[in-house]
């Protein structure tokens, strides 16, 4: 069961504050990195909602993000809508996409669910790769950011945009934490733990899982809007399955099922990648070894491991069952 412990709140606020300071004090590239971290963190948090609490390891989160970004572009660039309603359409589209995937794959679990999400994600990628009206593989430019001039906020400024992205991370985290602590989230964890029993208790688990994936896709859609507004250009590469694979790595590194871990994972992943690639073109091998090491050391991820140590110190290990299960 998800719990927003004081430690998690502290880590969340400290990380966001640290990133804000880094963006303000650092140069231009620091702001670029902060936005990159924010986008990856939102995606990772949204994946953790379904993977960590619902057992649904999706390889379609890149596609959800991309679908949102493309829908934003269709409405804002092609149909001339203002950015805000366009963004809502984008987020809505990815939520629908996620719900549909969840509904169709309702009967699959484990590796089969992974493969099914891969298939739907790649289908979406192929559609945008070939869709000439939206620029095909060349991508599409001419996007714009929210106009918050009436609030005296200039979104064109890179520092302002970095702050905006961090605020969105906070909002997405809050939304995820909120939902996980409601009846919906409790039931989702129940389904993850024992879907069979949850069904016998009267919960339509297929519908519930579909809605959870829809909610997660909605959060991924937020990442899509920020990504589109960040570089003001979109391309099908956003949707390709390796993007989703990277997000999964971030979640695992940070700590699956901790919600705050994915944020830390995103920070570490992005910083590490930039640090390593300054010295070598072979950053893949470092990430690969790190991933293997994380799983072999218990698979709890960075935050999960820290939490594990802390709880072990405060209370002795729980007693194991006295008699074996029948």
């Amino acid at each position: 069961m998800f719990r927003q412990s004081p430690a998690r709140t502290l880590v969340l606020l400290a990380t966001l504050a640290g990133l804000a300071v880094y963006a303000s004090a650092g140069g231009y590239f620091a702001r670029e990195i902060v936005v990159e971290i924010a986008i990856l963190a939102i995606l990772a948090i949204s994946l953790d909602v379904v993977a960590g609490f619902g057992g649904m390891v999706s390889l379609a989160h890149g596609a959800m993000m991309g679908l949102s970004a493309y829908t934003y572009a269709i409405f804002s660039v092609k149909l001339g809508w203002p950015p805000l309603p366009s963004a809502l359409m984008g987020i809505g589209a990815s939520a629908l996409f996620g719900t549909a995937i969840g509904w169709i794959t309702g009967r699959t679990t484990g590796i089969f669910f992974i493969m099914a999400t891969l298939a739907f994600g790649q289908m979406a990628y192929t559609v945008f790769f070939k869709w000439r009206w939206l620029g095909g593989d060349d991508g599409l430019g001419g996007l714009s950011r929210f106009d918050l001039g009436w609030l005296g906020i200039k979104m064109g400024d890179s520092l302002t945009f970095a702050f905006f992205a961090l605020v969105m991370v906070l909002a997405v985290y809050a939304a995820a934490a909120w939902v996980l602590r409601t009846a919906f989230g409790r039931t989702l964890t129940g389904i993850h733990t024992n879907e069979d029993r949850m069904r016998a208790l009267g919960v339509s688990t297929v519908v519930h899982r579909a809605q959870a994936l829809g909610f997660s896709a909605m959060l991924a859609g937020v990442a899509g809007i920020i990504a589109a507004q960040h570089i003001l250009y979109i391309s099908p590469e956003m949707l390709v399955w390796t993007v989703s694979g990277e997000v999964l790595i971030v979640v695992i590194l940070g700590g699956l099922g901790t919600l705050i871990g994915p944020l830390l994972g995103a920070v570490i992943f992005v910083l590490l990648k930039h640090e390593i690639s300054a010295y070598t073109n072979h950053w893949h091998i470092v990430i690969g070894i790190l991933l293997i090491a994380t799983v072999l050391s218990g698979g709890r991820g960075i935050y999960g491991q820290v939490e594990h140590w802390l709880t072990r110190r405060t209370q002795p290990a729980g007693k194991t069952a006295e008699a074996p299960d029948a």
Binding site: D137, D138, G139, G141, S158, Y233
Partner: protein
Amino acid sequence: MKPKFISMALAAAAGIGLATPAVADTKVGLLLPYSGTYAALGNDITDGFNLALELSGRTGEFEIVREDTEVKPPVGLAKARKLVLEDEVDVIVGIVSSGVLGAVRDFVDGAQVPLIVANAGNDNATGDACSAYITRVSFSNAQVNRPMGTWMAEQGIKKVYTLAPDYAAGRQMIEAFTETYTAAGGEIVGGEYTPFGQTSDFGPYLANAKASGAEAIFVFYAGGEAISFVKQYGSFGKELPLYGSGFLTSSLYVNAQGEAAVGVTTSLHYVPTLDTPENNAFVEAFGAAYEGRTPSEYAVHGYDAAMTLMAAVDSGASDRETIAATLPQVKYVGPRGPLEIDPATNNVVQNVYIYETVMDGGALTQKVVGTVEAVRDDPKGCALQ
């Protein structure tokens, strides 16, 4: 491993240059893929660029910042912004994929930073999306293929079947070829765009080509797909003559294709066997610097990007604005022959060579069978002048 050595040495040299006051006058951002599918191209372009600086003994004048685009448009744009806003480079050189170019275009145009495109061939970049700040020293997709259409029609080939991967560059290359080929009286009897990066068996398409009644096949493939395609074409007994865009049999991987590539005739803006003093000197110097490697067209892009940049600096350019203004006036004779920038589009004007891959003394080499001089693109919506 030697090229990396040299670039490290260069970086060190640049560092020393910084220590001694006012030597490194121009800061260059190399924006290329160093990981991902096009890493080999990024390395070749870098090698060519470094060689030009080294040969002219001017490594100290240019401070180089390298950034890896990973062939991902968002990463490419992020790195471009970093180069401009944080490193404050005077000029950006590079960009292999058209996707990355599309992502970067509005930014460099808006930020008024000169960009020397050293590979990406998207026609639009020097067409309706051209910019006073974007100068291309490599090629445009249409540029290397248009001469081939006319030339093949002149050879008496009346019916052609076309194949290319299903993405923007593939379509532009085939469309440019089709335009001049049909204008010269040829007929396209069929064609297909194959799923990009997903096609490992070209057998079905080769059978389609044969069944279409075509006299020849014209294709564009690059990298791993080019190797697969040519080898599979060879294994089916080369039933129809194969023509194509010159990237198909690029010197970078023609050896991997082996005997299958013999007899394939393609068009390209550079062939390593061109017998000119400039090219002979270049090929020799490149081989000496990099373990006897033959320079590919990608290496030449890097080399010419550096030569063009140095020429601009020599004629007085010193900051972003003057470099951008001076680049289109550059003219020089390089490895690929006479080279100038068309002020109407900022695209390079260059010869296109039609060459056949032949076996000579047990090694594959290129025999030039035709030269179309000073190929210039139509402005197609570009209003620089």
